[in-house]
């Protein structure tokens, strides 16, 4: 298990994750960031509020950014335009 940190980039600020969370692999941490972004978007959309978070930066314990997972990357594939055509 490896500890990864999810810093959250908002439109106007950066929230530093001081706790981190353990994942079996970077791939799992990446999927965790995708799920988190979807949940954050869903929470804002519940009340038709603007989505303020635009990315989660997955970092290692030294603070190096391994990947910046964007809201677009998480949410866009779920939109109907991106699905197979429905007749």
């Amino acid at each position: 298990m490896t500890r990864y940190f999810f810093n959250i980039r908002r439109r106007t600020s950066l929230c530093i994750d001081e706790e981190g969370q353990e994942f079996a692999s970077f791939a799992e941490a990446y999927m965790g960031a995708i799920s988190s972004l979807c949940e954050i978007a869903g929470d804002s959309l519940k009340t038709a509020d603007p989505v303020e978070v635009y990315a989660i930066e997955v970092t290692d314990t030294a603070g190096a950014v391994l990947h910046s997972v964007t809201m677009t990357e998480a949410v866009l594939p779920l939109l109907p335009e991106k699905q197979a055509a429905i007749v």
Binding site: I8, R10, A33, S36, E39, D43
Partner: protein, 241 residues
């Protein structure tokens, strides 16, 4: 230190229970009762904070109720049930007076007045559980976090030793949702957050953020159990920043 339900109890009823109370110190994460195991004791808290947790099919856990010095744990006992599919543990340490479940149950056979008081508290708890359900369905993470911080402040004071991971379990969301909203509430100057310690700075501000998802179980408690228990959703307090 006192317990709000015991403080509201008739002296004769209290005298029935008093010889059977045992004072215990409950550490953080102490299990009050396990799922599907007999609930041996009912705890009347003098401090700290307990959480009752529901799990479904081993997937996902969610806090459904929290009780501190206003009441007691193990209410299923008084509903005639030995064991519950839920479990309960201490999320902040504190002391309690505990009593064996069978002794408490027979005392409620002796005194209808005692039984009615304890059942009224169970009603308040049910209102709290319903209020959590409504909050989860209709309110945002920001509003629910504000509600939950207020419920903690009512029971353990302004300094809340809570990790984001723990808050995520309480609110039924992923940790990042908590990290973001703690940051937002801190930016609004309502709380101060240092690693695993959240300090409430502006109670009224949090009540405003909660936008109505906080307060109903607290007012039911004051109406039905004890109007005097200090700070259980009563006077808005502002602490020095």
């Amino acid at each position: 230190m006192e317990n709000g339900t015991l403080a509201a109890m008739h002296a004769d009823d209290l005298a029935l229970l008093q010889p059977h109370f045992e004072r215990v110190e409950l550490k953080l994460k102490h299990i009050l009762f396990e799922a599907d195991a007999p609930i041996e004791h009912v705890h009347f808290f003098l401090g700290g904070l307990s959480s009752e947790i529901a799990t479904l099919d081993g997937k996902g856990q969610l806090e459904i109720g929290c009780v501190g010095r206003e009441g007691f744990s193990g209410h299923s006992v008084l509903l005639g049930v030995e064991a519950s599919p839920h479990f309960a543990f201490m999320q902040a340490s504190g002391s309690a007076l505990r009593i064996r479940s069978d002794i408490l149950l027979s005392a409620t056979d002796t005194s209808k007045r005692l039984r009615m008081l304890l059942l009224r508290f169970i009603h308040v708890l049910m209102v709290q559980i319903a209020s959590s359900a409504v909050s989860d369905a209709r309110f945002t993470v920001r509003q629910r976090l504000a509600r939950w911080l207020l419920m903690c402040q009512d029971r353990i004071g302004d300094e809340l030793p809570l990790t984001h991971e723990f808050l995520a379990l309480m609110l039924g969301v992923r940790r990042s949702g908590v990290t973001e909203m703690i940051h937002v509430l801190e930016g609004e100057n309502l709380i101060r957050a240092v690693r695993a310690l959240i300090t409430v700075k502006d109670r009224q501000g949090l009540i405003d953020v909660a936008a109505g998802c906080y307060g109903l179980p607290e007012s039911e408690y004051r109406r039905l159990i004890n109007p005097n228990l200090q700070s259980l959703g009563t006077t808005p307090r502002r602490t020095a920043s």
